[in-house]
Subunit: 341 residues, 2 copies
């Protein structure tokens, strides 16, 4: 268990390091007005904190920098109360240029705003369209063999794909099929269409469709969902201006990471509501070992839809960033719910 003084010193040190991005020595800390101990005393405390794993040295006679454990402790126990939150909230409303009409524009702008305000990189993970409910579907033939299948969701999202029409299928049959699907499956989440069809509609098909046999492959093709959630970026290159990434060999993996969809999706996904912070190796990827990721989820009618995330160096300004992310995700939630009125 840490003493009051240790807690205090740890917090002061991390605050200072976050601000100046340079190892902090005992003298620097002792210079603060609210500190009554001498540098020597502080040195002793620092040595203890280092032994406990909260601090590190860059070399034998350097000042201290926070370790990953230090940051974790700082984030969990030492963050100043989010009292300044109020001030920021007023802000974020103003930041959206004019009124944002479509959800995509909202996501895009949110990411941009966040990265502009923080100078870090931000990502918004869009809602998974496949979780939306089918409003209407349609198949529009393009040529004798190719058609476009279109699915409109209750949220106004449109999924579409090209499909190959089997030779055997007749236009009238196709129409019947579409009618059945629309009648029976409206309101079903896209992702569930497949199972619902198999469970409930084979009888109906058998009754109304002539060559039901050949339909199987066609239906599979029609309902083979592949698209992933969309990602909206802000400040992709901001990492380049962070002092700890001044080195090309260190930024490269990071930028490559940002460009790799799968990794980003995994990084930024979080089923949890609210706010999660992952520090350094907690992100479980080499390229992210010097970064922290903060995910905040936005919702619609209380349901988790997606996340807005910030990626920055481990010594990011947690306090500022957290309150920002918190208010921004709430603002997104508000606006999204406004859309649906």
């Amino acid at each position: 268990m840490l003493t009051e003084r240790q807690l205090f010193i740890l917090r002061v040190l991390i605050d200072d390091y976050i601000k100046h991005v340079e190892p902090v020595g005992s003298r620097t800390i002792s210079k603060r007005e609210d500190i009554t101990y001498s540098p020597a005393t502080i040195r002793n405390e620092l040595a203890d904190l280092e032994d406990l794993g909260f601090l590190e040295k860059t070399h034998t006679s350097s000042g201290r920098i926070p370790s990953e454990k230090g940051y974790r402790f700082y984030v969990d126990h030492l963050l100043p109360s989010l009292s300044m939150k109020e001030r920021e909230i007023g802000h974020s409303e103003l930041l959206f240029t004019e009124k944002v009409q479509e959800a995509e524009a909202l996501f895009d702008q949110s990411a941009k705003i966040l990265s502009d305000l923080t100078n870090y990189t931000s990502v918004v993970l869009g809602p998974n369209a496949l979780d939306m409910k089918l409003k209407h579907m349609q198949i529009i033939p393009i040529s004798s063999q190719v058609a476009v299948a279109i699915f409109v969701t209750n949220t106004g999202h449109v999924e579409n794909r090209q499909i190959v029409l089997p030779d055997t299928i007749e236009p009238s049959e196709l129409e019947k099929l579409v009618n059945i699907l629309n009648e029976r499956l409206a309101g079903v989440r896209l992702i569930e269409l497949n199972t619902r069809i198999q469970k409930e509609l084979s009888a109906v098909f058998k009754k109304h469709l002539k060559d039901y046999q050949n339909m199987g492959v066609f239906l599979d093709q029609l309902l083979l969902w592949s698209k992933k959630e969309k990602l909206f970026y802000g400040g992709k290159t901001n990492m380049l201006s962070q002092p700890e990434f001044r080195d090309l060999d260190k930024v490269r993996p990071l930028l490559d990471f940002l460009e790799t969809r799968d990794l980003m999706e995994k990084l930024v996904s979080s089923s949890e509501k609210g706010l999660t912070i992952r520090i350094g190796t907690e992100n479980e990827h080499e390229a992210m070992k010097n970064c922290s990721v903060i995910n905040a989820s936005y919702t619609m009618h209380g349901k988790h839809l997606g996340t807005i995330s910030l990626i920055g160096p481990t010594r990011m300004e947690y306090q500022k960033v957290i309150s920002l992310l918190d208010s921004l995700s709430k603002e997104m939630t508000n606006r999204l719910n406004d859309f649906s009125n």
Copy 2:
């Protein structure tokens, strides 16, 4: 006018510089087997070529590097015949993983292949969907006030947007409107829909639609095209491994440029068929002053659809890249035309 020998030396020098990315001195050139002159002679020629503006020095006693004018001359007059082209062509067919079904996947893969093969950055500018012809349109109400408008083109592309339904409009009227549009405007390019309606359909509307007056704003909203051509990237971060961009302050503007849609679109657009090369400042942007851009257009039924482009340092391997780009754009053209069979 340059002498034979000057031409020869200029070409050898640029070839060497492109290969080794280091200033080339007289000794290096004289060491080549097919050179019979002494370093001193070459020094004289080099001085002349420098006076003529084809070469530069990095400092008073360094070897020479090509100037922008030098590269331009090299590209225009000195490029070895594209005899190796044949060899590459066989290649590019094989490089596509399995069969590519949709156009988007083709563009994406082409960009990836190109950047993998060159280690530079590549961009494919997708076709402008607004140049495609309307196959079918539809308006699907989501709520009492919001609807989704969907336009399917003859190429199977789907454009969609959300629109606000005026209170005054009745469902039956909406249906009529859509029917009229589909009957009268099938085969018209999306971009032209607006003018066609204004020119030819006002009479029809007046006849069939009740509140034709209020329709104006609604139609404007419906046909307000904003989407731009899509961009597909490959090797976005490849520039980081180019020796001339080892410096962070030099890459930063470049990467920022790559992320700026407007600039990229302008950079990569070219109405010309075939292949265009822009070197350094010819790209008319500070961030691109040390880069060359090569655009190759791909077509469908002989019509220019879009471009596949390569962005690399001015000392890129023009020969290799040009032949690659040439065959790749042709391959894209082939495959696109196959789709439409």
